[in-house]
């Protein structure tokens, strides 16, 4: 059978502009290209500004995951300013970041990824009495009966494919799609209780937070957390398990590179202990993470600059029409290796390191429920499962953290902006490992750099021609119908792409940013 080329552009139900091109032979993907389609130049815009502008502006890299960027920025500023937040500041930062994990994971599963599996037309067969579901049924039915072409928009049209056939499962999933809108909104309310507003909060500053802490805020947060937690444990995790059990083949599909790193994040004490452990799992071996081993390659990226370097020497210039380049993303590599980051990376590394016994026993129980081995986690469904399971642990811990808050104690430590300095902020974001780097000269930002989860996962080939994690995960994926490549979306969406975050540029004519071991 001749080779067929499929271009999926735009790949929707993600954040940002992503194009996926695959070559299909004998019904399987044999080659793949992941392309980031948009560039803004955030780091260039940050230069010359006051360093305290970095948290609010860095947040605005992404409206789905602003808090990780705000967190990376304040950690970099803490480092550069030599300031340490008081316990309240550290805890409130964690609670905001963790609230965003909840919003992000629920959005990802129910509102972005689920439509690749759930048959929303099953609502037409609904016979129950739930007023909301009947409203949706009438909405789709009346438009469809009247011959309205956009009936069911924006959920239809869609690819033809092997959607779930069981009406009861589909209808439950639709009901939970609606419920998840509300629960996700409540996670945002939790975040706003400490952050002022969201998307893009107001209270992240070097030295802690600006939040005025009072008992009312703590109680409001805790009561919402209980409701959200109940949904995660009783609805979200069972829904993921239900979908996963109907698609056992997706525990074999989308395996990808199988190497993982985690920077670690969410400090649980003032001495550097982290909720998410850092580490690496490369070529089957667990190891410690060393930030000095990161380098970014640009042979296939739309930049005319030096490659394989960090920090970069020489000018870096965006080149929208560079020959042979196919993405605005760079190709970051860890010790030269292609690696995946994200909830699955955290799960694998913490499971194998034995970092957290609650975490390990939860994964073990999920594996035994599904009749799977740990290695099966490295797959499309494994990524969904890892995401859901980590939220259960995280929400347990959040309830403990919020009890540690002391309304009478300070939330912020005063800082002075130094004339010259450098700082690094490493954290875990909902989508994986995130780092921000800043250098300050004459009280202004001289250089700024962010290496983000989707750059790790969605980047193009490196200079040696090694494909990025998305690309590798697509290889071997069966495509039943090249006109309706639903499988491509399933594989890529399992990574939870966030393209606005991923496109970055390093500007530098001198060694101003040094990676250090954290």
């Amino acid at each position: 059978m001749a080779k067929q080329i499929i271009t999926v552009d735009p790949l929707t139900r993600i954040e940002g502009h992503l194009k996926i091109k695959v070559e299909v032979e004998n019904g399987k993907v044999t080659n793949a290209f992941s392309t980031g389609d948009m560039f803004r130049g955030w780091e260039i815009i940050l230069r010359e500004r006051s360093p305290i502008d970095a948290p609010p502006i860095a947040q605005r890299i992404c409206g789905v995951c602003p808090i990780p960027h705000g967190t990376g920025a304040v950690l970099a500023l803490d480092d550069a300013f030599g300031v340490k937040p008081p316990a309240n500041g550290r805890i409130i930062r964690n609670l905001m970041l963790a609230s965003e994990f909840i919003h992000s994971h629920l959005l990802h599963f129910y509102h972005l990824a689920a439509l690749d599996f759930v048959d929303i037309t099953a609502i037409l067969n609904y016979k129950g009495i739930d007023p909301k579901l009947n409203k949706i049924k009438d909405w789709v039915k009346s438009d469809a009966d009247a011959g309205v072409k956009s009936a069911g928009a924006p959920f239809l049209p869609r690819y033809k494919g092997d959607y779930i056939k069981d009406d009861a499962v589909n209808i439950a999933a639709i009901a939970n799609y609606i419920k998840a809108l509300e629960i996700r909104r409540k996670a945002h309310e939790m975040l706003a209780i400490f952050g002022g507003k969201i998307p893009h909060c107001q209270t992240l500053f070097a030295g802690g937070v600006a939040t005025q802490l009072n008992l009312e805020r703590i109680i409001n947060f805790k009561s919402r957390l209980a409701e959200v937690k109940s949904f995660i444990d009783n609805v979200y995790i069972p829904d993921v398990v239900a979908v996963a059990s109907l698609y056992p083949d997706y525990f074999k599909i989308g395996k990808g590179v199988g190497n993982f790193i985690s920077y670690g994040g969410l400090p649980t004490d003032d001495n550097g202990k982290m909720h998410y452990d850092s580490g690496t799992y490369i070529d089957g071996n667990i190891g410690n993470f060393d930030s000095n081993l990161i380098a970014e390659f640009v042979k296939y990226s739309k930049y005319s600059s030096g490659s394989g370097l960090y920090p970069l020497n020489g000018e870096t210039t965006p080149d929208a029409k560079k020959d042979g380049a196919y993405s605005w993303l760079k190709a970051p590599r860890y010790n030269g290796k292609v690696v995946e980051v994200g909830p699955l990376a955290r799960a694998i590394i913490m499971y194998l390191k034995g970092s957290d016994s609650d975490h390990k026993s939860l994964i073990d129980s999920a594996l035994s429920t599904l009749g799977l081995q740990p290695a099966d986690l490295i797959s499309v469904m494994g990524r969904h499962a890892a995401r859901a399971l980590e939220l259960s642990i995280l929400t347990d811990r959040m309830d403990e953290w919020v009890d540690e808050l002391d309304p009478a104690a300070p939330v912020h430590t005063k800082f002075k902006i130094p004339k010259t300095s450098e700082g690094m902020g490493l954290t875990e974001a909902a989508r994986g490992s995130l780092g921000h780097w800043i250098s300050i000269d004459n009280f202004r930002i001289a250089n700024y750099q962010a290496v983000v989860p989707t750059t790790w996962n969605g980047g193009p080939r490196d200079d040696a021609g090694n494909m990025g994690p998305y690309e590798q995960a697509l290889i071997g994926t069966p495509i039943a119908d090249v006109e309706n490549p639903i499988e491509v979306g399933r594989v890529i969406r399992s990574f939870d792409p966030c393209l606005a975050c991923a496109v970055h540029i390093v500007e530098g004519d001198r060694e101003i940013l040094k990676f250090r071991v954290c």
Binding site: T7, V8, D9, P10, L11, T12, R13, E15, G16, K19, D37, M38, F39, R40, G41, I44, I45, R47, R49, S50, D53, P56, G63, V64, L107, H111, L112, K132, K135, I136, D143, V148, K149, A153, P154, F155, Y159, L181, R185, H188, E189, A192, G196, K197, I198, H200, C201, Q202, T203, F205, G208, V209, A210, L213, P318, A320, K321, R444, P485, G489
Partner: protein, 374 residues
Amino acid sequence: MLISRKKFLQVSAGSIAGVALSSLWLPKLLSAADAKNGKGRLPVIWFQAQACSGCAVSFLDAAYPSVDDVLIEVISLEFNPVIMGATGDLAMGVIERMMVEEKGKYIFVVEGSIPTEADGFYCTVGEKEGNPVTALEWVKNIAANSMAVVAVGACASWGGIPSAPPNPTGAMPASKIVTGKPIINIPGCPPHPDWMVGTIVNVLKYGIPELDKLNRPTMFYGTDKLIHDNCELRQYFDTGTFAKDYGDKGCLYELGCKGPVSHCDVSTRGWNGGVNWCNRSGGPCIGCTEPFFPGGAGSGLYEKLPAVEVPGLEKININANTVGVALGGVVVAGIGAHAAARMIATKYRQNKEEKNRDKGTPYILKEKEEEEDK
């Protein structure tokens, strides 16, 4: 029109503590809408250029009515890359069909600025005959076939952060790309969901709402919506209590609050179900609804507003301390402070809009210029 709008405002006014656009009045609204155009829902194409999806996520946070009610009953959201079922050519085919079959009937929502340098190739969406299509081309074409254009967020309204100096990609707001169509700007970073839903509902039921000279709906951004005039921390300003560090009690002026020059109703509406809003949280207003946002390299989001003199009083330099101390105890306190804030606002806007915006220069005001102006 005027009476209906008044009615609308009355209903919206019930919203003050964040129960905006109560679902109680939605049925009434829909019955009117149904009568008006059969299907009753307004077709919408929501397109993202240089966006961060923050506006789309904020839209998903709509509470009363909930976003699912909005999708089912208020609009027909034909295209939105964040939540739509279709992907690839199937998705772009929706836009192609709408531009022909629903020509002149749909609302075009633009999120994100539009890059114009490098022939627009800093942002491409989809392919035609194997070639990437720029967001610039899409925005021009979709707008040309639309009924009206709604720019959501600071980026689509003014250019936002992507257009901040040195504007590496030639990022432009929708108003610089689109010609010959009415444009409504719903700025904010992101805009409150009620502003987006409320504006769309207004278009559906009453037509385009009253706009200020920056094309913002006055019901959300009017001159009576100056943050500083409606701020719950205002008492601290009037009595001269100023937060010196983050987390302190007091007016946030010294920490760089842009409330005296920023218009929107979050100080009364509240964010995220009314649980909080910017200044209440302790994080100073950064002016995200205004064209000067986010300023330039020579200025900062948290730079203290420039000092001005208070009219009617002897040359008192209105920095935060003197306003509090000088005016706090006297009868004219309220008037004086209001006047000062208004004056700052006016100066700020004039400078920003007429002198600096197009050049992309920093928004910072020089005290000297202020004096010369007088």
